[in-house]
Point group: C2
Chain length 406, copies 2
């Protein structure tokens, strides 16, 4: 018989483990809102002495600073002085490779954006090394602008990433296959004169995953939702109990290839009637009579729909209906508290929502569906890059014990 | 910004928590295979003294016994004596309400079935109290046969259960709505002269969930799978990282109402083209020219298909194709390591699999699909009842600290 739940991580509880977990606990309380040592002790149930010792360690690691009313007089450890996250401490560096753009961003420990750079550039079909060279330059500038010391680098990519976060297996819209993203980016950073950034731990992740995580962390909504986004392809992120569902091989969330009309048109993936054939970039542009148009398709469609273009509105209505069918199936399977339209779809929501709502109401019959459960992300297309940078900072906050002292 | 992952359960680590978690750790090691105290100390990293003290507590609770070579001479705490799970200790009592049957089962701490009773009876449209009276009698007999002291009672039902496990919200195939299953069953147990069973903690759960959990615990397969089963309706269980995905309201897994052909026939649920309209009991019987036939539909179809009935085989091929389309969508969303055909479908697998395999191969295009990932449960229709009984025992093993001493 398989072992009981929740015990597999195993190993006995011990003093080092306790200290590490209490370090994280204290940091969590401080991250919520600045607190004095006495307040931290009350909030956590730890002794005053333990809190003081843990706080010193967090201050030494640059994660926490003394602030609050009595701060300027500054005797270290003085009770009554509020402790807060250090906005000049270790930062998160985020990078994004899109089909039509690059992005770089720095957030501080409090999750505030300290630098944000975006460059429109057609990456489709370019060699990875050339794209990485442009991205490295953008990262170098963003890091210099923020003036903080990044603790890690996370990269959003429009494709499937291996579980180790080092290998981009396939990015159909870039024409890439088996690219060692972490290694390539490090090389490019060194060549760009940003050797200090090349020393950082680098992880790549799928843009839809990072968009979903950004929604979880910054969107302020549910702990259990389906985030549906579109850039060049359609992606989704499934969040369950506050955690991203990645799947056995890291390929979960491929809503774009859920069959909508099983005998429908053939998809680039080889299957028939996938959602992308009805609600993906090419399909919607074709339905709108805009096939082959270049540039930012989301902005173009939104502008035309706003201007009252009936063909564009009808195309978006059709895309919304297909989205509604696929999402209804996902809701029946997953029972999320919310469905969030993100990425490019957030901008297009006014014209997608009516048909989506109708399909969901008709097809989610197990327990009542209500329109309020279908929401629009306020992060929109900024999600993946924010998710990348904020994820670095959150890893630090969740386990400060792994940060070496500076 | 939302709090870091993995810290929400919160609270400081402390001595009582450590002891409780170490108690579970020791029990986990012993549950795997009988071990001496010295071996337990080696396996866990705990001191010999700590292991001895924890073992005494587990023995006093009736969970663990001395066994092995030197056991009969029996000095308690003697090193070298193997410790094993007590097969005469607290047991798990499982119950099942099917549309056409009732079931009761007792498993011991080692997960071995010590009593198994099944009664064929048409429950559709019967009043809950009448069904519970029959079930209580079956449970009384099963418990008497096993001669063990049950630590809890879990009930498998063909419907949606509230998060507290006390209320059956809807069981369409029974014609039930908002039935207080736990309270009703307790009343019936008292009336059946099984007052001791009425004192047990009772939890109801959806049969498809329990079938999926049984597959996880006893099936010996993956930690990440989709379990697809059929009884009167179609159910599924999604297991991720060894845990059942229940959904925000506990309604996850409704694969039967995933749209397969969105403009297809109207389903009892009100939507159009749901999987149940192609692969559910009524749909398959109709396609096989057996509409309205009573009794065990799975056995009937299997017998006829085995005998070479072409109409039945064609009906099952069609059901397999529809299952393949719906499951392909689920695989694209969830990326499970395996898809397991369970419940009644396990028996029908020889005729369902060919079309399912073809649809999956054609529609799961993100990462290669391989036929070996589609498997057949060896538990079949015994899954839900086994899952109910074993779940009781597993809760005990996972947290022995909550068991009061006898």
């Amino acid at each position: 018989m398989r072992e009981p739940d929740g015990l597999r991580a195993g190993g006995p509880a011990n003093q080092q483990g306790m200290r590490r977990s209490n370090l994280a606990l204290v940091l969590r309380v401080i991250a919520r809102t600045p607190r004095s040592r006495a307040e931290v002790a009350t909030d956590t149930g730890l002794t005053r002495a333990a809190v003081s010792s843990l706080a010193e360690e967090l201050i030494a690691a640059g994660l926490v600073v003394e602030e609050g009313p009595a701060a300027p007089s500054g005797k270290v450890g003085r009770p009554g002085t509020a402790l807060g996250l250090n906005r000049d401490g270790p930062a998160g560096l985020g990078a994004e490779i899109g089909v039509e753009h690059l992005g770089a961003c720095v957030v501080d420990l409090r999750g505030e954006v300290r630098a944000w750079r975006r460059q429109e550039i057609r990456n489709r079909g370019r060699r990875p090394a050339a794209v990485m060279a442009d991205l490295a330059e953008l990262l170098r500038r963003a890091a210099a602008e923020a003036g903080l010391r990044p603790a890690g680098l996370a990269l959003a990519v429009p494709g499937l990433v291996g579980a180790d976060g080092a290998l981009l297996r396939r990015a159909a819209n870039l024409g890439w296959r088996d690219v060692g993203t972490a290694a390539e980016l490090r090389l490019a950073l060194r060549a760009a004169g940003a050797g200090h950034l090349a020393e950082l731990p680098v992880r790549a992740d799928n843009e839809a995953n990072l968009g979903g995580l950004a929604e979880l962390w910054l969107g302020g909504g549910a702990e259990h939702f389906l985030h549906v986004s579109a850039e060049a392809g359609i992606g989704s992120a499934i969040v369950v109990d506050g955690r991203l569902l990645r799947g056995a091989r890291g390929y979960a969330g491929e809503l774009g290839h859920v069959p909508v009309h099983p005998e429908g048109p053939r998809c680039a993936c080889g299957a028939h009637g996938c959602l992308e054939q009805y609600a993906g970039e090419s399909a919607v542009l074709r339905a709108a009579g805009l096939e082959g148009v270049r540039g930012d398709w989301v902005a173009l469609l939104a502008e035309r729909a706003e201007a009252g273009d009936e063909e564009v509105r009808a195309a978006l209505f059709g895309a919304g209906a297909a989205l509604g069918i696929a999402v209804a199936g996902a809701v029946n399977l997953l029972d999320p508290a919310e469905v969030v339209l993100g990425g490019g779809y957030a901008r297009l929501a006014p014209w997608l929502l009516p048909a989506m709502r109708a399909e969901l109401a008709a097809r989610v019959t197990v327990g009542p569906w209500s329109d309020e459960r279908l929401t629009v992300s306020r992060l929109g297309r900024r999600g993946p890059l924010l998710g990348a940078a904020v994820g670095v900072v959150r890893s630090l906050l969740a386990d400060p014990g792994r940060l070496e002292e500076p």
